[in-house]
Every structure is written in C-alpha cells, then in structure tokens.
Amino acid sequence: MVNTPRSNGKTLFEKIFDRHVIVARESGDALLFIDRQLIHDLHYRSFDELQAAGQTIRYPDQLFATPDHSVPTTAKKLTDIPQGEMHDTIAGLQRAADRIGFTHFDMTDPRHGIVHVVGPEQGITLPGLTLVCGDSHTSTHGALGCLSFGIGSTEVKHVLATQTLWQRKPRNMRITVDGTLGPGLSAKDIILAIIRHIGAAGGTGYAIEYAGSAIRQLSIEGRMTISNMTIEAGARFGIIAPDDKTLEYVYGRPHAPTGEKWEEAMAYWRTLPSDDTAVFAKEININAAAIEPTVTWGNSPQFCVGISDVVPDPTSETDLSIRANMESALTYMDLLPGTPINKIEIDRVFIGSCTNSRIEDLRQAAEVFKGRCVVVPTLVVPGSGLVKSEAEREGLDRIFIDAGAQWREPGCSMCVAINGDVLLPGQRCASTSNRNFQGRQGMGSRTHLVSPAMAAAAAVTGRFTDSRQLSS
C-alpha cells in the first residue's frame, strides 16, 4: 500500500513531532524543540568547540552523559586506563561535565554504562519526548514511545547551543508483527527477520512504528532490541506506542516524573497511540510464528537466514549489483554457497552491546550456559553497572564464569571494537551486537549477528547451533 489519501488521524510519530514544532517552513522542514540529549565520550570535543565559538549550553539540566565507546571493559576507573586516546577521550568528557555541570555517570558510578541502556534505566527516556544522541542507535529509545533519533556531531552542537534541531518530517511506515513467537526465540530474531524482509535501505526516509500482538507481548527490553536495530533497516526512528507495560517500566525511575507531574505526563502519554484513522505511507506485515533463530552470513544485517537454512547462492539473485555484493560478502566471510549454517564454526563469542546487554538478554544466555562449558573465548559485557549488579544478584555471573566465559565491566566493547576488545584478522565471531560490517569488530573480523541464546549456544558448541536444542 503506498500513498493512500490523508485523513484527519495522526500517527504516534506525528503527534510527538507536531507537539515539538517551533517553526514550520513551507519546504516541510521544521525547527523542533529537543527535550533531552544524551552524550557519550566520542563527542567530548563538541564542548571545547562550542566554547571556542563563544556559545553556551542552553539546557545543561536536560543533558546526560556517560562514557561507553572508549571504555576498556577491564577498567573500573579512569586511572586504570593507560595514557593515550582512550584515556584522553574519557577524561575529555569528564572535564566538560566538571566545567558545565551536566549529569555525568562516570566509570566509577554504579549507573554508568552504554548510553542507550542508561537512558531508559534512569528514566531519562520517557514517552512523548524528543531525545537525541550523536549515535545512530538512539532509535533504541523509541521502544518507550519516545521520538528519539541519532544525529551527527554538527547537530549535537546545534542542540547543545539551542536545544532545537531542523528536521524534515519523515514519511511513516508501520510494521505489524502478529502471531506468536516460538519458544526460545527473542526480539533479536524478530528484528533480523524484519530487516531481511524490507532490506537495509527499506526504511530510508521513514519513521517506523512497530505494532502487532508479537510486539505487544515483548517486554520493554525486547522492544528496545527491536527499536535499536531500526537504523539497520535504514530508518532513524523505530517507535512503539506506550502501553501499560511502558508506564510500569517508567514509573519510579530516578528521572521520571512523580506525583502530580506523573499524572500530567500520563494524561499526555495516553493520547499518544496512533489514531485508527491515521494513514501510513507504507504498511508491512510480518508473521512472528514463521520466524526461526536467525543468523547473518554477510556484511549487511539484511543478509541473514534461519538456523536450519544454508548460505545462499548469489547466482540465484537477479539484481546484479546485489549479486556482486553477496559474492564479495561470501569472499570476505570465507563462506561457500550451500553451506548449512549449523556447520559454520566460530572462533569467538561476544554477548553485549546496546542491542543485547540488558538483564533479560543475560538471563537468556545464562539459560544456555548453565551446566555447560564454552569451547571458544567468550566475552560477556553487561550494558550498565546496574545490569551488572542485578546479574550478580541473580547469580548469572557465576554461570558465565563457571562456563569459562569472561565477565566484564559495562561498555560498548566488541560491538564497535575501539576499547581494546577486538577480533584478530580472519576471526569469526557469533555476536549479539548490531552490525556485521566488514572490519566492524577489528580489521578483517568476520561477524555473524545472533540473539543472546544463539550466541551462548555457539559458545558451548563451537559452531552455530539451534539454541532451542540446548535450553535447560
């Protein structure tokens, strides 16, 4: 369905967008008010650049920072990090926080972690807000009904200086996932199936709203995994209407409103779900019951198949450019067409990242690890200090350590691989992260994206294995 005539109804996305418009231009561009900004270590230079330009931070109280990209997962504090780029970057963010006075969860703070895990955890992320961060996975926060999106560093500075941003209203796409997800499957399998279906550029120019019974049934954490990888389908926004689960999740968090203000917020949040008469420029339907545990085989997240499937044959692809893309991916990944996915052996396992490092993810991995031993080096990195302490309270750390996996300090770690956690050239990794791009986990690294349960199953068998066969 494309370009059905407009009605009076509004989508969830439009309701939040319209509420934040300061100036609307005929061209369709709008100057939006931005409620909150999250900052991570790689943007520390922005503060010095603004100061040099004589500009000040307009809303320091709505700015929240935590170092994540450059944090070594073996370090507990800044002084544990040797002098060099990582140290300078984290120290740079600390300096800015000290000078300007915005909230900064430093490495020693129990609330420290990956910015997209910390935001929702602290109630910084709330339904109905506009929230930005200089990181493409800011789409994560859409899971709470928040209009959140990733921006570049020029835009980061623009928001710091003005608390506004120029945006063109994107078209709306609704992806409805109905049906019941099979046992042992997770949100990661759903989002990989969606990206496979619409393609890595399928969402370009759109804001995606996820709907349907399978989305409703997911926990808020599972929904975050879905929204997180929206950018892998090309869309910057992946939003889910707030419901009772959302309100229950948000209630009582440190930065969430309380008392009368909570009632005011809730009155607004209840109005947010898309109207029945709202029109989406594009509608996609996915059947959750047909989804298998999914594994990527190429260098784009769209290149994925079910665990019972085989590596596809590029000659069956009619689009010549995509065929060449598949061929180059198979060469890079050192795979042959027709190879059963469950025959692919791996060298390393990474469980973590803003996609899959929340407590629910760790529980799913632990379920598989329980009573088993890893046969390849395995890194488990919690998304935040609070996730870490909760996992330790539940005894999950013992399960990981007893299985022979490494249990580390929170951070982005081997998803972006600039903190010292890195694959060697040619190594093949089962990873719960979000990008299987060439070199993403280190020069020459070969990444296969999977769910936490599938990563754990690969860790204990040394190859891709249907995790449903191993669940205890």
Binding site: S153, T162, Q163, A201, A324, M443
Partner: protein, 202 residues
Amino acid sequence: MQPFLRFSAVAVPIDIPNCDTDQIIPARFLRRAKDDPAYARFLLHDLRFHADDTETGFIFNQIPYSDAQILVCDINWGCGSSREAAVNALMANHIRALIAPTFGDIHYSNCIKNGLLPVRLSAANCNHIRIQLHESPGATIAIDLEEQVVSGPNQKSYNFDIDSLDKIRLLNGLDDISMTLEHQTAIEAFEQDYRKNNRWIF
C-alpha cells in the same frame, strides 16, 4: 562553510552497495581530531591500504581516479553509524559531491551540514555513469546546484531533486546555528509555553 554553486571535477565510481560509514572511516580513527594531518588517509582506509600500510589496488588509489572530487556510488551509501567523521574524511580528500541512488539518512544530513552535496539519481543512471567512468578514466562530471542538473561524462544531463531548504543552505554556505538564531523570538515564545505546559519534563 564553503558555498556550493557549480562544480566540475574528475569523478570516481565506487561500486559498493550498502557502503556503510564503517567502510568510509573505520571506528578506530574516530577519536582523531579532524585537523589531524593523517585524516585524508582515513577515507575508505581498509579498502585502500593493507595492514602493512601499503596501497591496495582500490580504484581511488589509481591515477587519474585519485584526483577525483566527486564520488559516484551505489545504493544506500553511508548507511550505518552516525559518525560525521565520514564526511570529515571525504572533505579531507577535497570531495565536494556524492552521487548515489540512496543515502543513509544520517550521513545525508551530515553532508548537508558540512556543505558537501549529496545528489540522488536513479540506480539505473548511477550504474550508467559508473560504467562510463570505468570506461573513461579521468572523465569529469559537472554539477549545477542552482539548476539541479548533473552533466555526466558523455554530456548527458540528469535532473535531480533536493529539498529547498537544503539547497539554500548549500548555495549560501549557511550553517544551522546562525539560521536558527534568526528565530530566537519564536524559540523563546515556544519555550515559555512549553515549559509551562510540560512541567513534568523540567
């Protein structure tokens, strides 16, 4: 920001669909300052250089393509990470325009904010131009932003669409903060109402 009016330069075909920003600049360079003298080398680094730093046969290393200031790309150029360093690396190599069927949304916006022109042409036209550039190394492409026309290597012209505000930004080399500050009165009026009506946020 340097205004973009008319521009003509050698163009290089980059035949990589879904070329993500991790390819355009690997993450390990993201902590470098953009005025780092080595910055130009970071562009497409792992495609252009072996692990021992010697050059690969990648097309951008080959004369006369190495002089290119326009890239003609495949679908979904610049998808993935929001890193503006990808634009910085292009600009460090004096690249002034990109032509592709589709761009990653964040990368597209980052280009506009830095005065680098992203041109969307159909996949068929991009393919056609890339083939011509392979056949005629060193061929030039001319772009007239005012007229919204690309003149390909064989003088064939292609019209392109661009958002009117983005066009004004590029033609005049406007940066966003100065454009925004023109609306200071509207911003302050909005803030006053908004803060009053949304006490739960502040």
